[in-house]
Symmetry: C2
Subunit: 199 residues, 2 copies
DNA sequence: GTCTATACCATGATAGAC
DNA sequence: GTCTATCATGGTATAGAC
């Protein structure tokens, strides 16, 4: 992330990005002003431009960092013996990762329309790569005769939407524990593609 | 919807709401100006205030109308003999209804945070009533021993998110026909709660 | 590296002519 | 019923002092 000068501050930049992430997630990119971000950090609005060329880049950087981290974490998952195990692993991972980063996730899914074309294309490509991780699993299970899915792209979109929806309601310290939530979602995901025998 | 005077125009009001719905869905409430809405209708910005007291009410009215229509349509669904049939009917209905009204749906799900507290509470209550329709079905299936769901609230949120996600990718005239999409989603929904035997 | 000050523009909303 | 004109406010972003 381009800082404009050979500056010393290693702390203000991250704080600006944290404040922006928090405010964008809560109120939406378009509804948040640079003045609000600056106020949350405790600097003047003008000072933000030492750390970002403009508001748009602030958003795009947040989204890119999130999606690149997500992809890296996905790539680091340990190999699994079967498509069903891979899907269970993916579902648990997705739930856990999203529960831990509600703001970044929310922004990445909701603020695509506020990106300008060039940055939209870049971010959309990253998101698409993540969807492909799941679709690969589903296709492998379909080829192996273990999943029953008429259309792998539709199933991918359905599962991603189902799993990501956890951010709409899950709250730390609520009725259900994180581990239980992961288990139940993974179970529903497996059953939805016919990968689990009925009781 | 309160028009300010005993006016004659039966056409401009609806056109304003249609333009607002279209623009809010495409760019987001906060990113759309009253001038843009007026331009799309072909009137001046000031003229909008003959039909709405302010921008906020324009948004709240769109959301209220959508959710009330949705609830009315849900209530009008023909009775079904079993929880599984009710769930299949709900899934197909939800998919079809959402496919036909992508803009209204998108706004109702995305712009809650741009409502002020009083209107938020009202709209949120309507949304909650719709979720309860699904949760009632899931609980009935659970009581009857036909659904396998550890937590009915979680399952409700998971299914609503999965089904609503259709608006993220489905496009008229695309690869899949509407009827096929309804059928596949309904099948995944039933399987996810253990209501369909595996092949 | 951060500040104050400010340029410049778009916003939501209103007043009053027609 | 719609227009033009306008208001006060707040938006992004920059300039230049320190």
């Amino acid at each position: 992330m381009a800082r404009k000068t050979g500056s010393h501050s290693e702390i203000t930049g991250p704080r600006i990005r944290a404040a922006a992430q928090h405010l964008f997630a809560r109120h939406g990119y378009a509804a948040v002003s640079m003045r609000q971000i600056a106020a949350e950090v405790g600097v003047q609005a003008g000072a933000l431009y030492l750390y970002t060329p403009d508001k748009q880049s602030l958003l795009a950087d947040l989204m890119r960092d999130h999606l690149e981290s997500l992809l890296a974490a996905t790539a680091a998952l340990p190999p699994q013996p079967s498509p069903a195990d891979r899907l269970a692993q993916f579902a648990r991972f997705h739930i856990g990762y999203h529960i831990e980063r509600p703001d970044a996730v929310f922004i990445a899914y909701m603020e695509l329309r506020n990106l300008e074309p060039a940055q939209f294309a870049e971010i959309e490509a990253l998101r698409r790569r993540y969807e492909d991780v799941l679709e690969d699993i589903l296709r492998a299970g379909h080829r192996a005769g273990q999943f029953s899915i008429p259309d792998s792209k539709l199933a991918t979109m359905a599962l991603i939407a189902m799993l990501t929806g956890v951010t709409n309601w899950y709250r730390e310290g609520g009725r259900l524990r994180r581990h239980d939530v992961e288990a139940i979602y993974a179970d529903m995901a497996l059953k939805s593609v016919g990968a689990l025998a009925q009781p």
